[in-house]
């Protein structure tokens, strides 16, 4: 799939959110989209998924099956988890509940099977959002800040799922402003800033032997933490963790 001179703005009188985006997403690859809040990461992902239509230019050769996990799952719907996923699998042309049951089990949603979506916690609702995107093996999986609100166990599932999708020949586009991508192997990095996308900085995961790396501990002001993590990971450094400063 490729972006062909894609321009996008939300309304005619507004400035461009994205300009002249030219990029290619190869099958089997994982692309991490970095950038500050409001830089246009979500917009880029929604253009990729086909949720938004470019104001100019085009997104070509989009795979037939696209899975999109929105940043916030729309939980304000009068369905239970099971009803919702069954309906979504019917939209995907699937019959029966085999896939629904599989993903309910795998994502640990079994005890919430008959809970209304509006009564789910944020993290659990996010898992329902993840499940609906995977009911049919996607040729393109678009994950918008998928770690948001997930517990430690579910966080480890994301790299696992990403690996499965890419192994099956699918491409994965994931946005991340917290630098959680350390767990994603072989990821290409894109960066959105000032309404433009840079792929030339495409720093792949450091190829060198990890035993050759050194660990630097740095302290960052709380308010700057997100930005620092994003900038460091954009430079190709691995983020090993973020923690509170220990009292001496």
């Amino acid at each position: 799939m490729r972006f062909d001179q894609v321009h996008f703005r939300y309304a005619r009188r507004l400035p461009w959110t994205l300009q002249a985006v030219d990029a290619e997403v190869a099958p089997g690859r994982t692309i991490v989209v970095l950038g500050r809040n409001g830089a246009g990461k979500s917009t880029l992902l929604q253009l990729a998924a086909g949720v938004l239509r470019p104001s100019r230019g085009a997104v070509r050769d989009r795979p037939a099956v696209v899975g999109w996990v929105p940043e916030r799952f729309p939980a304000d719907q009068p369905f239970t988890t099971q009803q919702y996923l069954t309906a979504m699998s019917a939209l995907r042309g699937l019959r029966g509940t085999t896939e629904v049951d599989r993903w309910i089990e795998r994502l640990g949603l079994a005890e919430h099977r008959h809970t209304r979506l509006s009564a789910l916690s944020k993290g659990t609702a996010q898992k329902v959002g993840l499940a609906q995107a995977l009911l049919r093996p996607p040729g393109l999986l678009v994950l918008d800040e998928p770690w948001e609100g997930l517990d430690a166990h579910a966080r480890t599932l994301i790299p696992e799922i990403v690996t499965e999708v890419t192994a099956a020949g699918g491409a994965v586009l994931v946005s991340d402003h917290r630098g959680e991508i350390a767990g994603l192997p072989d990821a290409i990095r894109w960066r959105v800033a000032d309404a433009t996308l840079s792929t030339h900085a495409a720093v792949t995961e450091s190829v060198g032997d990890p035993s050759d790396d050194v660990v630097i501990e740095i302290a960052v002001r709380r308010a700057d933490a997100e930005r620092a993590v994003a900038r460091l990971s954009a430079d190709g450094h691995r983020i090993l963790g973020v923690r509170e400063e220990q009292p001496r």
């Binding site: 949720v51 899975g67 729309p74 719907q77 309906a87 019917a90 939209l91």
Partner: protein, 230 residues
Amino acid sequence: MTSLVRMRLGGFVRSGRILAPLIAGMVVLGVIHGGGKSAAAPAYGYSAVMFFPVFAWLTKLLLDAEPDVQRRLARVAVGPAREAAAGALAAAAVGSVFCLVAIVAPLPLGAIRGPEPGEPSMAAGIGLGVLAHLLSLAAGVGLGALASRAVTRSVRAGITVLVTGAVLGVVLGLQGSIAPWLVPPLMATARALAAVPLPPAGDLWLLSGWTILWCTAVFTAYAWLRRSRS
């Protein structure tokens, strides 16, 4: 696409949003048929006019019941064209049930009297009533779709489109209107159904054709606007 129609109908009914137009529909039936007996064709003709805003409103409510992000998820799952069509179809399905009730309910309640000399037969009157309601439904769904949040984006704009469209539908349909072609011919159809004897069949074909043309224009506008507004 049927699965998306079914999902949207489910959401509309389960969330209880169907109640308001349901009550409005019953009020309309009470007002139209509560005042005594009338011949079938004119009674149904004016019932169809009164149901036009109800159909438009229920369409807007049904389309707006779904959160924006869920509508986008549906778009990703089934494609933009089918996503846009499924909402209108779901509204048409609910509206058809309303039509059925609007035609059948007055009969056992004794609001429809048999034909007098010169008037169309009971069966013809009911047939014309069904036609008038279906034309009103198609136009109402069109107006409601244009007023939906996906198109108008804001609550105020949505309500403005809905109310203006519903009022103009009646006002511009009055006899001697300056621009009757701007709105679907609901009032003209009602007048034709109330005439004794009935106007020639050609007139009814003309009115149907006019409605279809109007709906084609409105749904084309809806489809075009929805292409860029997800």
